[in-house]
């Protein structure tokens, strides 16, 4: 039985997405960045297949090959415990990508509705929410995250929670700005006129329309959050050994940087490339949504 699909008129968001895809496809740098990001995501998903030594990638030690320099056997060398660095980098792509995406996602989920509420309601609700957000913004974000991470205990999950707590106000600010201008528009006034509840207006009509500026900011922030996660792991507050993590690998390799340079150098290149890709992509997205800024 064949039921013809109902024809749906293109929504604002679908059109935006199509526009973004078009621009990215035409901008070589953005295209390369997108490919790099997708490649790293694939590597992370298929780590057990891609990694030459999957067990070592997950942490199994291999004492005989300690500090093995880069060679045919270990393309990028081996670390202090004889583990293949390439495999560790491949497994490290999992926390390096998944966790920052999760952090930004949760920060958006907390921050954006609050911002939409503040912008839509105005008055004392706006005052209270924004003053609280301002307080969190008064801290250098990473410093606040470090203090929270230390006080709730070390570990990848704790570091992620700490980052969410120090990151949400950025999205509150953006969503509020968008909501303030949206609430004057006819479709919102029309909804109010027919008696739609405030909660429905905020979640169904305001929030979906704040998506584009938030998406841009989230892409730009992903690079920063990856750096922050790496930093937390580097000083010992993030991932704990023997789990593979780029920041932790740099920290472990730091002691041997002058002689066994490969231990820290290659994970560093991995972080740099991924962050660079997110920043380039974020730049392009920003150009699309805020053309004024770059002529």
């Amino acid at each position: 039985m064949n039921i013809p699909a109902p024809t749906i008129t293109e929504s604002q968001n679908t059109r935006t997405i199509r526009h973004v895809v078009n621009v990215i496809a035409r901008d070589p740098l953005a295209l390369i960045s997108t490919i790099i990001i997708l490649l790293f995501i694939l590597i992370a998903i298929f780590a057990p297949i891609v990694a030459p030594y999957p067990e070592q990638g997950q942490g199994r030690t291999n004492a005989p090959d300690t500090m093995h320099p880069p060679s045919e056997k270990y393309l990028l060398g081996a670390d202090r415990l004889g583990r293949d660095i390439l495999s560790r980098i491949i497994y490290g792509a999992r926390p390096a990508l998944v966790v920052p995406i999760g952090v930004v996602l949760f920060a958006v989920l907390i921050g954006a509705p609050l911002g939409a509420l503040a912008g839509y309601k105005g008055g004392w609700v706006d005052e209270v929410i924004m003053r609280i957000a301002d307080l969190f913004l008064a801290f250098p974000s990473l410093l606040l995250a470090m203090a929270i991470a230390a006080s709730i205990g070390r570990g990848l999950d704790k570091a992620a929670i700490a980052l969410v707590i120090s990151w949400w106000p950025w999205y509150t600010r953006i969503a509020r700005g968008a909501a303030v201008s949206l609430k004057e528009q006819y479709f919102v006034e029309a909804a109010q006129a027919i008696g739609v509840r405030d909660s429905v207006i905020i979640f169904r009509h305001i929030l979906p329309n704040t998506i584009s500026p938030i998406l841009v900011q989230a892409t730009v922030d992903l690079g920063t959050v990856i750096l922050a996660m790496g930093g937390l792991a580097f000083i010992g507050l993030g991932t704990q050994p023997p789990s593979p993590d780029w920041g932790l690998m740099i920290s472990e390799g730091r002691t041997f940087i002058l002689d066994q340079w490969w231990i820290a150098t290659f994970p560093g290149i991995a972080i740099f490339i991924v962050v660079l890709a997110f920043n380039l992509l974020g730049d392009t997205l920003r150009d699309i949504f805020d053309p004024r800024q770059y002529k």
Binding site: R131, I132, D134, L135, F136, A138, F139, P140, S141, L142, L143, L144, M146, A147, I148, A149, A150, S151, I152, G223, L227, G230, G231, F234, I235, G236, L237, G247, I250, S251, R254, I257, L258, W261, A264, T265, G268, I271, F272, V275, L276, N279, L280, D283, R292, Q293, Y294, K295
Partner: protein, 341 residues
Amino acid sequence: MRIFEFIFRRLLTALFVLVGVSIITFSISHVVPSDPAALYLGSTKARPEDLERIRIKLGLDRPLPVQYAIYMRDLLHGDLGTSIATKRPVLQELSSRLPATLELLFVGMFIAILIGVPLGVVSARWQGTWADVFVRIISIVGVSMPAFYLGLLMQIVFFRNLQLFPLSGRVDSDLRFTSPIDPITSFFLIDSFLTLNWAALKDVFLHLVLPAFTLAAYPIGLIARMNRAAMLEVLGQDYIRTARAYGIRQWIITYWYALKNAISPTLTVIGLTVAYALTGTFFVEVIFNWPGLGLFTVRSLLALDYPAIMGMTLLGASGYVIINLIVDLLQTAIDPRIRLK
């Protein structure tokens, strides 16, 4: 009188923010952890009677508002508690390390502004040319490079391979005997200059180069990028076209008439980058073994020395609030249009 009213209002806001900041730091140490006493002891497996003793000693058995009042009272008396690791007052620990970090921070930011602003100007002036592309690459690489990685690369290249700069530390360990620095301001560059101690000045300078440039990389990227955007906006305005029509030379237009109006938005970014640079010093200090606040904070974080952690968090946030205040006031001084808002 309007300007005084403006300054007063800004000061009042800053004060409110600082009170809020103290509530958050209080919460991090007293509310967030499931058991602050265990945090204090540095272990969750401490004996119950020890935990109880600590709870009473720290006043954790009292209601939260009372605890906060005590916390605030001590804070206003300059008492940030005693470091668990060093057993010395936290305030003393922080203030003795502040100059080393500030010296690094100032030099780093100075380098960042000195390089970042002209890069932004050049990039905007020759928009779309290879110079613009080059600057954009520098700025995007600058903001994408982790400080804790760049520092290591610097050490490999400039210490191991080229042997141009020392590996780490603030001064050479022999300097203490050959030409000791008289700590007048505890800013070693200034101290050695004031006492005409040239050997020390050279040594201090050489030790500063790698950490300062490592720290400056991120701010350079941000400043260049924002200054470019600000310059582009200004260069497109009518008065610039008028200036051109009058036959004023292009470099005067760019570096004087345009830059003057692009400085104000750039200042906002500089204020913002100081916050990044502040946490940047943590990584730089760890890598270059720089005896400042960052190294102390990282050690405290790992040792769960929470009076020290709270002191540093409070200091960092206060410093950030004050910097933003200064930036705001500077902007009103530079750009009278802001006062009218």
